[in-house]
Symmetry: C2
């Protein structure tokens, strides 16, 4: 026979269960100093000129950074594992260990001579969120798992989001085995020399392995700074197409060949660059086109160039618009090649579809902002992130914090301790809430 | 008392002495096969992708090439010496060893991924001329000295004709000690690591050390080929100015920064390149302007360039015209920098005055052509050579032979065995004649 007390208990218990979704974590105390110290130490694993940071996939600096991250994760009582490409997982087991985990993370490789925060903030920020939650006695229901993706930047193997793409199955072993860096070192040799000697196999991650993925990142632009808002909630991620264009001519001696006889691929590339600029200026709000890598061969002052190879990166949240710009650009490139009597070859490196963030995750982040009285802004991420690929398999959201003058991929990339504090607080709150959803 | 016989003898002796100037060498038998074999072996001392040849000053390939050349010279009975920068001298002592020697030679370094004949033909061609003269029993009066210049190309230290400039005193020890290659290795360290440990001192060559200098070289253009003429007689050498221009901007993320906010130094460089082309097309017959080296930094597909550094090479036989083009080009470069809000820095690497070849030497080469029934053409050398600097101190002349399609500084640079044969025959004849002048 059920007593009134028992009924009351059941009622209260049910309310507790139903309230899981509104779970709030009081007294989160993020230790920004500790986090920034970790970021700075990680920044020292660099092959670049200080303060610029260069940490390429599977380099000796990357290997050292991996050891450092694993030590940090283990020191915080997380159980660490990795997959064959070196994605690192640090798990905080929840009270319901069989439930799909809540994941958070980002990458820790860099472009050449880049900054301290891009990617690394999402890795060490997730760790700091976990440490803060642990310190206030929070106990997760769903496990919380930090993911340190093996490589997001294109710097070494010319392919972005290598780790996250592998994880979600958008990059096959066959494709990985074809990759070579600019020195001709194969992905497979580089991987093994970094200590990942386990045989490469396709990723086996289950559709429901994660119930959510949340990535904390610097905005890499200056909307938040301009608006004076500390938190950005990403709704969409614009996605890139990358092409490599190469023009070739006969070269020749700088003193001999008169201008009217030259078939100079650098002049073709120059004409293309200026045309591309004009093309993009037609819809500059949405489309981005960048020539970032330019290789001029043989590169002697006394020789007319024989080849110019450049990267063409086009981005948009509207895939059709992106395709249109690409087509117009490549048509123009071919016309310039014909006019200047140089040959042209085009390689399509990759194209990814834009992604939408999961409305439920965005809502939880919003709730977390409100719980901490932080104003926020919904915005589009024009840079892409590991979240672009995580979103193809798992409900995904992104938290942006401002970075100074919007600068990124440069040595003076900077996020203030105050903004970092707020970002990690929102992340911790979000992870805690998602852990009980 | 002088007999009639004695008078006759004295008369004939005087005729012989006076005829020295018209000395002719019968039966020269140039061994083209042996020469081409030597050229091919020398071409194997290369750090480049076959068939391209890369042999940079003081590299291990250069060191090996030096050993090979010295062995060849010694095998032919020449006495070999060198100076502190590694100019190599191989002397065939004449019957009047105190008379100023007749010199012939060229360089044996290369640009990146260059050809088999540029420079090396002048070194090994001079050796073959000496070998041929020895084989027909010729005995020089003035000594004949082969000079293998230490470096003519700008490839390693950004400075042309390093060896010949040092030799004639147009490059001081102070200037040499400032040179660094693109990896930051100093000239002095590179020099010593190549085995030249003797203390650097200014060149001590006397004004009358050489009575003549003659350089055999491929034309590096196609006038001789077009006209079907086997020998070119150089009357003037056009001379270069070299500048380095660098534009810098703030860089930024390829996805974030819209076109209208970018301060992209690569677009500045592109605009400059196209403007330069137009500028030179105003007087394309005489002026040459080339952007051969382009370095884009950081060079990542995902990052807007932060700096672009390029080489600007301008050449003319008219120094005033060259200066005018340079001024207009640099003015335009600065205007583009202002418009695109990038900074600009200009470095003046060098400027040399054009040179005239010595009429007496040209005449001897003409006589030598006639003696062999080879047609010839007088022409301007638009590429510059060690002769540009040798001419500042010694009476100098140059012999050109055709090269296929005028191509040079490329792996498929080619001179036919027949043209090489004729070139070396004229050189041998010329050296022999000059030895008795």
């Amino acid at each position: 026979m059920m007593t009134f007390q028992m009924l009351c208990f059941l009622f209260l218990f049910s309310v507790f269960i139903l309230c899981d979704a509104n779970f709030s974590v009081p007294y989160i105390s993020v230790n920004t100093e500790r986090l920034i110290e970790d970021l700075k130490i990680l920044g020292q694993f660099s092959d670049g000129d200080y303060p610029g940071i260069t940490r390429l996939l599977y380099s000796k600096e990357d290997k050292a950074a991996r050891r450092y991250l694993i030590a940090l994760f283990e020191k915080s009582g997380l159980s660490v594992s990795w997959d064959p490409v070196g994605n690192i997982f640090a798990r905080w087991e929840g009270s319901d260990p069989r439930a799909p985990a809540v994941a958070s993370g980002s990458h820790f490789d860099t472009l050449l001579n880049a900054g301290l925060y891009d990617g690394t903030l999402g890795v060490l920020g997730a760790l700091e969120a976990v440490r803060s939650l642990k310190e206030v006695g929070f106990e997760p229901k769903k496990s919380i798992e930090i993911v340190a993706f093996t490589s997001e930047e294109v710097s070494r193997f010319g392919i972005g989001c290598l780790g996250s793409r592998y994880l979600v199955g958008s990059l096959t072993v066959e494709e990985l085995l074809k990759l070579k860096d600019s020195d001709g070192v194969s992905f497979e040799n580089a991987r093994q020399s970094c200590g990942y000697i386990e045989k490469l196999r396709e990723s086996m991650i289950a559709e429901d392995y994660y119930s959510a993925f949340v990535e904390l990142h610097i905005e890499q632009y200056h909307i938040l700074e301009d608006e004076g808002v500390p938190i950005g909630l990403v709704t969409d991620i614009a996605a890139p197409s990358l092409y490599t264009i190469e023009w070739k001519g006969p070269g020749g001696h700088a003193g001999s060949v008169p201008s009217y006889e030259r078939q100079d691929p650098f002049l073709a590339a120059s004409e293309f660059a200026l045309n591309l600029e004009q093309l993009v200026l037609k819809d500059p709000k949405n489309t981005r086109a960048t020539i970032g890598r330019v290789e001029v061969y043989p590169g002697s002052a006394g020789a007319i160039p024989r080849s110019v190879r450049l990267s063409l990166d086009i981005r948009d949240i509207n895939e059709a618009a992106r395709i249109k710009v690409k087509e117009q650009a490549l048509e123009k490139a071919a016309a310039i090649a014909r006019k200047r009597k140089v040959t042209m070859e085009t390689l399509h490196n990759y194209s990814y579809p834009p992604a939408k963030m999961d409305p439920r995750i965005v809502e939880v982040i919003e709730d977390s902002c409100r719980a901490h009285n932080f104003s926020y802004l919904k915005l589009i991420s024009r840079p892409f992130h590991d979240s672009l690929f995580m979103a193809t398999k798992f409900p995904t959201g992104m938290i942006f914090i401002p970075c100074k003058e919007g600068k990124s991929h440069v040595p003076d990339e900077y996020a203030s301790p105050e903004d970092i504090l707020r970002g990690v607080e929102v992340l911790a709150e979000t992870l805690a809430r998602l852990s009980y959803q």
